[in-house]
Amino acid sequence: MGMRIAITAAAVRTALGEDANEIRGRLDAGESALGPIVGFDASGFDGAQAAQIWREPETAEDDPALRILGPHGRLLDAVTIEAHGAAGLEALPRERVGLFVAMGMVDAPVDDLATAALTARDGGDAMSLRSFFAGAYRQIHPLWPLSMLNNVAAGQIAIDLDIRGDNVVLASDAVAGLRALLEAARSIDEGRCDAALAAGVSGRVSPAALARQALHGSGHPGEGGATLVFESETAAHARGAPILGYVLGGATTFGGTPERATAAARHDAGLEAGAELERAARGARLLGDLGAGTAASRLALTLAGWSRGSEGALPRRALLSATGDDGGHGALIVEEAV
């Protein structure tokens, strides 16, 4: 990578809390966020458990933000605003602040669709496409289409923070989440941004998410996400920002074993093959499978873990790994700030 990327702020939300230190402490105590699913009847899904934040059915009413962003988009917005504020980025030129996001799959708000489908039944047992197209579709809220675009949350963050720099939105699994962190780090390394907001958020635990889990064999779903702020070490020092840790390098690969991604990440970070690395964010599986929010959350919790337990003079290094749904792997190497 050629330079150490400083991490100057982190914000995280999971089913175990909204503060990284608190979540880290509860994980260290062996507490699990997994439990029975609430908000809808999940008894049709075998053995379904989840780590939920959003425990009530969504009531969108006429709130455009609810309609467009959905709960995970709003969580992303909240943690990113928190991280941006914590890092004190307001004084930076807006064109030099970037946003790199990974998001879980968007699942359609069902209520609108149910009303439209029912209207299109014409009293029969199944909807008629002719009736749907003839006008039943108008039962769907006009803003519903935007709720299906997971880049819209990133756009809303840009509006809320008035940032206009380099950006990307990736979907939708844990490797995408790790890659978003890596793209953010590259934007600093290659001089495109003065600060980069690196974010990831899970999808919502919904009937569709459980169906996806059943089809693709992923773990119990969780809800949560995090945003970190990356800067060059020089810039962070120059503006007096505290440094929480460093990103040293990373890689994403496809097929084969996770070790290939790890080897590529070590190479990217300039580390020897035998250099010792901790496993990042031990116990984080108790938060459920956060999908695209996994890497950002685990990085935030790794920093919190170091902050809680670090006494040694030597910086510790950790390997943050990710495995995707379709054969992808990712590895990111981070270092403690001493």
């Binding site: 669709l113 579709y137 990307v168 699994d173 496809f254």
Partner: protein, 427 residues
């Protein structure tokens, strides 16, 4: 490490056909591929014009890839076909390609209202229990079956590609952002070549009402549905949905030269920006678009005076088109009067996450053949669109450098610079 990035292969699936040269010639001739809806009945969907892949072509593609897991998803099928053609043009074959990647723009997939309808109680509420017990009955195209990563993952699996494999989901700018990621990956030495571009299909019941609900769909003359989308025209009324895929092979120049590949063009720069304005509309002064274009030119140290063609996002909506022209004028200054501008959305519809991938292939063809396609259906340019718009038929002119613009709902803007390849230049 900073390396030059070149293009060595192209592949298309479009409403005008799937052969790159044939599609290009039809675009130059001013032909269009927009028709009444085919797969859901000509008189049913409220949008009466689509840039649609015919059912016959879809079946041909499925027959071509009988073992493709996920072929039910048109987006995956289109990407696979276009990628195979692009890799074939590039002379790349399946193997162990650990230093190659696949980075594609991809639509979110198809939500199927039929899956909701199947699980309705008598009172109209959704029965999650029935849904859970009927997973095997999910529609074949459902996005629950096919995540956004699937098109890229299937290509990687088929060709033994072992580097970064990702899906970019920034809607209408997704392909350009994917191409930008691929370009940067190669330039910094992470990969030697990347399959990039994008694929999308929303030709399904919910997709077909998408733009209608948003109020962005063009008014359609049922006697002439092909004329519905009129980018930059005084009478433009909105956009028309399309589907397809546009894929390119981006490759490190040294790698391409070492294996004797034919180099089609150079990717000379990339820039991305955020509007930070409104979710559904660009700022009228086009500032976000201008920033993306300027960053792309700066990235490649390309002077405005070397730009001969802007392949515009040009959706045909009231707000996008003049904002984009303002952006072009802001960035190119007086040179804007010398630059040919056109949009392919009149001919093909808006291919959403695939749009910039197809447009990128057009840019490569433009610098290869020194030609610029016209904007189909553009007859009376809006006075607010006061640049050299290409009307009626293709124009022969030297195209040293082309800009590929794309701007998304949500405010993500991206621009890729495509330059005529000259051996011996510096990155």
């Amino acid at each position: 490490m900073t390396r030059r990035v070149v293009v060595t292969g192209l592949g298309l699936v479009t409403p005008l056909g799937n052969d790159v040269q044939a599609v290009w010639e039809r675009l130059l001739a001013g032909e269009g591929g927009v028709t009444p809806p085919l797969r859901h009945g000509a008189d049913l969907p409220p949008t009466r014009a689509i840039g649609e892949i015919t059912p016959e072509v879809i079946e041909q593609l499925r027959s071509r890839f009988p073992d493709l897991d996920g072929a039910e998803d048109p987006r995956t099928l289109f990407a696979h076909a276009a990628a195979h053609d692009a890799l074939d043009m590039a002379g790349l074959t399946p193997g162990e390609h650990d230093r190659a990647g696949v980075i594609l723009g991809a639509g979110p997939g198809a939500n199927r209202i039929e899956d909701v309808d199947r699980c309705l109680r008598e009172d109209g509420s959704f029965d999650a229990v029935a849904f859970g017990r009927g997973i095997d009955q999910l529609q074949p195209e459902s996005l629950i079956r096919h995540g956004a990563e699937l098109p890229a993952a299937r290509i990687a699996g088929a060709f033994g590609i072992g580097g970064p494999v990702h899906a970019v989901t920034t809607a209408c700018s997704a392909s350009n952002q994917a191409l930008g990621m691929a370009y940067r990956s190669i330039r910094r030495g992470e990969t030697d070549w990347v399959v990039s571009g994008g694929s999308d299909s929303q030709v399904n019941p919910l997709g077909l009402v998408f733009f209608v609900l948003l109020g962005a769909s063009a008014t359609v003359d049922e006697d002439d549905p092909a004329s519905a989308c009129k980018p930059f025209d005084r009478k433009r009324s909105g956009l028309i949905m399309g589907e397809g895929a546009g894929i390119a092979i981006l490759e490190a120049e040294e790698h391409a030269l070492a294996r004797g590949a034919t180099i089609l063009a150079e990717v000379a720069g990339y820039g991305a920006s955020l509007d930070a304005f409104r979710t559904t509309a660009p700022p009228p002064d086009g500032r976000g678009a201008a920033e993306a274009m300027q960053y792309a030119l700066d990235d490649g140290d390309v002077p405005a005076g070397e730009v001969d063609f802007v392949n515009a996002h040009g959706t045909g909506t009231k707000r996008n088109d003049p904002a984009e022209i303002r952006a072009i004028r802001t960035v190119l200054g007086p040179q804007a009067d010398e630059v040919a501008v056109s949009s392919s959305k009149g001919a093909l519809g808006h291919l959403l996450s695939a749009a910039a991938g197809v447009a990128f292939c057009c840019c490569v063809q433009a610098v290869r053949e020194d030609a610029v396609p016209p904007t189909a259906n553009l007859q009376e340019p809006d006075r607010a669109c006061d640049v050299d718009l290409v009307l009626d038929a293709g124009r022969r002119k030297v195209v040293r450098t082309a800009l590929n613009n794309s701007f998304a709902f949500g405010g993500q803007n991206a621009c890729v610079v495509v330059r005529k390849y000259a051996a011996g230049g510096e990155a």
